[in-house]
């Protein structure tokens, strides 16, 4: 039983829950992206915690963190591009008004 690991994982769980709530409940695309960022951050916490408390010798754990950070950056870039394009064409980034994206 490693208390630190469980604490770190619980914090990851908390971040995940907050992020999930945000991603589902917000109406604005940018706010939804914030929720997704939080979910990814939760993943980061878990990865680092596993690396630290279980396999500190295996650097692939840290490398995975780097990849997730890249994914976060990509998500931002793509998300903002969509936001700009949508705002340009429709004047809104509210998801309520983007129902054709839901289909």
């Amino acid at each position: 039983m490693i208390v630190e690991l469980s604490v770190a994982l619980s914090i990851g769980a908390g971040l995940f829950a907050v992020g999930l709530y945000g991603a589902l409940s917000q109406t604005n695309l940018v706010m939804i992206m914030m929720g997704i960022e939080l979910i990814l951050a939760a993943a980061l916490v878990n990865l680092v915690a596993f690396w630290r408390y279980l396999h500190p010798d295996a650097m692939s754990g840290q490398m995975f963190v780097l990849i997730v950070m890249t994914v976060m950056a990509v998500e931002m870039a793509v998300g903002f591009a969509i936001a700009i394009a949508r705002f340009r064409s429709r004047g809104s980034v509210e998801m309520e008004e983007a129902r054709e994206l839901k289909g």
């Binding site: 769980a13 917000q26 109406t27 680092v48 630290r52 490398m63 890249t70």
Partner: protein
Amino acid sequence: MTGSVAELFFLAFFGLAAIWFGIVVFRTHSMVRSALALLFSQTAIGAMFLVMQAEFLGVLQIMMMATEMSVMALFMVMFMMDPGGMGAMDMSHQKRLSLRAGGVGLLAALAVSWLPDWGPAAINIPSAARQTELLGIELLGRSMFIFESAGLTILTSMIAATMVAIAPRKSGVTHDC
């Protein structure tokens, strides 16, 4: 053992700070505050990495998020109806569903993190300098392909994002739809 207690304390402290800032993100009405709360949440996570002796990752996280979230703040101001939060506008929907989903997710993740026996904790952590070195060897050795793919992905997404975002040529298309 004192080291472990201190580690536990700081882990919990920064972790709770991260969660609290994460909650602030969705509770404040001011969009700049929202983006900066997310920044501080991410910074607290970076501090957690430092506590967990992943120095390179921690510093990297702290550095990257400053830029990312500042850009986020700019977009929030651009794309929200009420970026100052003066109108105290409600910008959420399907609240109950979201709360339930979040709650279920929380419980499941908590159960997974506390129920199993994770085995003994690792004792020997490489020093920060050694870690950086090992990480470099990992990145440019065994994981080079993945690393390069990530690099290419980010390059592609940069270009694609720019393409999508720049103004379309005016060809009789009105923007008033």
